[in-house]
């Protein structure tokens, strides 16, 4: 899991997922 610094009460987490033969860095922004 990758995390960003919490800024303006918002947190972003991400993980790199293989989709078939390609790689998606799925990032989710959520409020604190």
């Amino acid at each position: 899991l990758a995390t960003s610094s919490i800024k303006h009460n918002t947190l972003c987490v991400a993980s790199i997922v293989r989709y078939k033969r390609k790689y998606a860095t799925q990032m989710l922004y959520a409020p604190l």
């Binding site: 390609k22 790689y23 922004y29 409020p31």
Partner: protein, 316 residues
Amino acid sequence: NTPEAIAIEQKLAVQSIRKFLESKTSYDVLPVSYRLIVMDTSLLVKKSLNILLQNNIVSAPLWDSRTSRFAGLLTSSDFINVIQYYFSNPDKFELVDKLQLDGLRDVERAIGVRPLDTGSIHPFKPLYDACCKMLESRSRRIPLIDQDEETRREIVVSVLTQYRILKFVALNCRETRYLKRPIGELGIITEGDLLRCDMHTPVIDVIQLLTQGGVSSIPIVDEHGKLVNVYEAVDVLGLIKGGIYNDLSLSVGEALMRRSDDFEGVYTCTQNDKLVTIMDTIRKSRVHRFFVVNEEGYLTGVLTLSDILKYILFEE
């Protein structure tokens, strides 16, 4: 190079490009490695705006963590709706300031606009089908949705845009070099009395024109009808950055000064241009429409990516 030969070559080239679109899937358009920014619907609208601007994007899929489902796309239309709601209800600033992304549907109902149906498609369906679905839904982008193997929940794999698809064609179809008929002959330019404004038109009126016309840009002409600039739907994001709605009283000329300095400029062409050079420009630059002008620079029409895609999919 007789006109007949050029016409036959163009017809064969369009049919070949169509076969290419039928033979590829949306998955093929995806880079080997890419990122997808998704927002939780409990985020504040003004926070989501900062996230789009910070990441240099104009749209993002939404995810509802309570239902664990994809909740549609956030686009500039949503911000236009919020602006129109606030402009009609200036006393509701508190509500607008605290508005969450899952409240955007209520705003649509409050101002009486239809939700933007973006549809969706499986990544392994033919690219041709994704194009047709996108054109049906009047949206300029289409989410690619698959299902998680274990939980059978939706996965947003990516979002394809008309620009990305035409760029994929321009990069991979050598047949584009045979599209040598003047676009004025193809009947694909939107001409006649285009919605337009001048530099002093209040920006809120221009925003109303965007909604009224269901278009994503409004040309700005001088007193003689010469094209001088364009106000685009995505310019709205910069107008209300930080959740400040004071600038709605600006003229469109003043509002355009919010554009960042790396804006590439408005692309123009004439009736005599050909799709071969139009596609080459799409291959090299981030261009989303071409305003058609005559020799003196007077506005005569517009050629959008939808017009080009429709021609490739359905004409000839």
